[in-house]
Amino acid sequence: MLVFDRVSKYYRVGGVKKTILSDFSFAFPPDRNVGIMGKNGAGKSTMMRLMAGIEPPTLGNIFRTSRVSWPLGFSGGFNGSMTGIENIRFVSRIYGQDPARVISYVTEFAELGPSLRLPIKTYSSGMKARLAFGLSMAIDFDVYLIDEVTAVGDEDFKKKSKAVFKDKLARSQIIMISHSPSTIAQYCDCGLLLEGSRIRFFDRTDDLLLAYKELNA
């Protein structure tokens, strides 16, 4: 269960109040994959941070019973001076997973070889992204939150990511932010459109994509 109950979120920057959500109530349908679309700055990422529980809402409540991932594809939580293995071990521990299992999964999946034993600060951004993607796939979540990233790395790795992803979708739900109509069409079966002042729910992806197109027209 992931429910927004009369949620408002605003920031006050230099005396200017910026409203992201106002009095928004929504129960995310279980067993459906939800796409989130909207223009830059419409508040998609903030909404995802609220879902994940990274930030508290200004007003209202967010109820969460399912295991919700951190926004996926993200690599900022890594400690640069610690090695890949040490970072994996840390994330496994906080999520109550067996570190040995997660390490062997990520080792095989991310194909980083001996680099896993080096500090993260020596990694290229591609390597970091592979590590982050592998790590989030190694942990079983009920809901995966994906912010713009679906596949990273070269063609081979992309293929592999897609396969793992499809496999995950059989048991888990995804909530995805994307500007790409084809990605939304591929993974989602309903969606939300953020238009600044209002948020609309679409039961079918086709309608969502159509409305998104009109918004940008």
């Binding site: 930030e55 200004t58 019973t65 900022g76 890594f78 400690n79 610690m82 906080i94 999520y95």
Partner: protein, 260 residues
Amino acid sequence: MKLVSTPELLSLQLRVIASLVLRETRATFGTSPFGYVWAIITPTVGVGLMVFLFSIIGRQPPFGSSLALFFATGVLTLQFFNQLSNKLMTVFDANRALLTYPIIKDVDTLIARAVLVAATYVVIMVVFYTALIALKLASLPAHPEHVVLAFLATFLLGLGFGTLNAVIASLWDTWTQIEKILTRPLFFVSGIFYVPSQLPPQARDLLQWNPVLHLVEWFRHGFYPNYNSMLLDVWYPVSVGAGMLLVGLAGERLFRQARY
């Protein structure tokens, strides 16, 4: 509405804090070889050097027969308090990146850091006092239970002050500088190199407002059989510590929005 059971939440809390303590240990001490050993050597050598300097200028111990023990009870106590306060003050900013993992909250990083500092000082104090006893520079504590209680009270006061500082510093950056200036005089007003009970009454009346002085006195009461402090009020540092912790945590909750 309660969605997760209390035992589940408790085990999650313990898991997160334990992982953070391990990570913090690795991040703080893991970068240099023998990293953790340095954390113990630095303060130990610092106190040792001070004792050495004072003994070559021919200073007599202000109380008892051991200059080393007298200084250690003062300096180590103040250092433990200062370390807690300093390390906790910057904790919210330093661990910003970690909050990307939603199950880690600000207060978890605060507790983890406090636990690590406390564990380090347990090791430092055990090593230092054992060495003094082994070198016949001190005898076994006369009231060991009071040494333990004094340690816990120092932890509480440092945690309270550090939490309060962390909240203030997160709202107002300049506070980190001001805190340094405010706590600098503690070295002189906490009875580190004199016996507060031997001071004139006017000085005592003033100094007894300093909770750290009570902690130093408490440690000495634990080590010496007849320290007979005229100032020691064990409830004073405990209440000040508990009060600051309460205000600090309330402030954390109240200003949580402002930090994002």
